[in-house]
Every structure is written in C-alpha cells, then in structure tokens.
Amino acid sequence: MKPRTVSFTQRGFDFETFMWFFTRVSALVMYALALTGLVGALIMGARTQMNLADLMRWVFTPNVTHVQNTNVPDLAPWTTSFWKLVASAFVFFATSHGLHGLLSVIEDYLTLPWLRRTLRILVLLLTLFMIFVGVYLIWTS
C-alpha cells in the first residue's frame, strides 16, 4: 500500500503539529549532542582514563560532576563553557522532548477536559522548572 501525502496547507499547522515535528528533530539533535560528547571525551583522554559506564554518563549530559569520580587527572578541559553549553542544550532538548512525551501519554488515557487542561499547565510549569534546575546545576557545579 502506498502512503498518502497531504499537502502542508491542507494539513493545518498548530502547536501539537509543531511539537510532533519538534519531538523528532530534538531526538536527532540529542543524537548529535551525544556524539559530540563521545568524540570530545575520547579526544580529552577518556580512552585510558574512564570506563564504559563513566563515559556513558558523560555522553548523556557532559557535566563535570559526571567525571569527578574517574581517573581523569585534570578536570579543567571538562569544565569549559563549551561543555556547559552542550550540557545546557542537552537539558533543554531532553526536558522539552520528555515532558511533551509525558503529556502525550497523559492525553491518550485521560479524557476529562478540565483534567487535561490542568495537567497541561502543570506539565508546562514542570518543564520550565526542570530546565531551570538542570541549567542551574550545570553552571554552578
């Protein structure tokens, strides 16, 4: 069966359509950020100074607290603004991707309008709060 395609104008474009697209693009962005962290860690000497678990922790969010308990002798290259920016971007994309996913699951199972509206606002507030907490932790640690 051939897939049908509907033109962009016929399809309409609203917030949820944007988030559908954003969810997919942010997944690719997170793959790119993880790859950046992986290559960067290997350049900075992870091959001999870290084990697999420590490396994966760093890859998921390149924050300096993730390498404090490893055999890395000098933390300076791991604490640059570049890595803090990469980690902040990771927090932003992961939080907005993940909490919108939570909203999708909620709205798949709950049908009461007032409950959906309340939870939608709660999830939005939670998203903003978690991004704040994550970025705060990255820039102060």
Partner: protein, 124 residues
C-alpha cells in the same frame, strides 16, 4: 463532555498488535522511565542532603542500572527508527523489516551492557 473513547485502558492493554505494538508500549514505558529517572536525579542533585545521597546509592545499584539502560537504549534506538520512518515516509513500506533491524541493533548492545554491569557488580 469529554472526548469519547470506545476503548477502555484495559482493552487497550489486551490488544494483540504483535511486533509494532510491542515497540510502541516499550517506547512509552521506556520514555516514562527516563522522565522519572532524570527528574528525580536532577532534584536529588538540586536539593542534596541525605535524601540525595540515598537516591544516588539507589542509582548506583546494578539492578536499577539494568532497568535504566533498558529504558534509555530501547527508547533511543526505537526512537531513531520512528524518526527515520516519519521523516522519510516512503520507507514505511519496510516497517516490519525496520523493526527486525532495530532488535538486531538493540539486543547485542543491551546484552553487552548487561554483561559489563553484572561483571562489575559481581567483582564488587
């Protein structure tokens, strides 16, 4: 009036959609697992204290790591399949094969992680 749903949650869970349904439900469970894990991890670091230390000791337990690695790896690999099929819709004709490829990528990777986690745990 809310949205009308003809299917209850229980009926939905009993739906036998085979391979694609299995990836769908595991993607949800994995995604929710990551949301809970990352949120609690951030809050534990933010508020710190004894609760934070206790939560960190839970994270470091091998059984917990097996679950987290399953969630994260499955969600990431299945998510990549979804992104590829959604952004290049012509590939949807090969969706069954895509799921087989996905398992072929996921199972060896996860098995390797299980091996490393258990070997580290057992050597103590």
């Amino acid at each position: 009036m809310g949205l009308s749903r003809n299917v209850s949650l229980w009926q939905g869970l009993k739906y036998q959609g085979q391979g694609p349904m299995l990836t769908f439900i595991l993607h949800r469970i994995g995604g929710l697992g990551i949301v809970v894990f990352v949120s609690v991890h951030l809050l534990a670091s933010y508020f710190g204290g004894e609760v934070g230390i206790f939560l960190n000791s839970v994270y470091e337990h091998w059984a917990f790591q097996l679950v987290v690695f399953f969630c994260a790896l499955f969600h990431a690999i299945n998510g990549l399949r979804i992104v590829i099929l959604d952004l290049w819709p012509k590939l949807i004709e090969h969706q069954r094969e895509a799921i087989w490829i996905e398992w072929a990528v996921f199972l060896p990777l996860y098995a390797m992680c299980v091996l490393v986690i258990l070997r580290t745990a057992l050597s103590g």
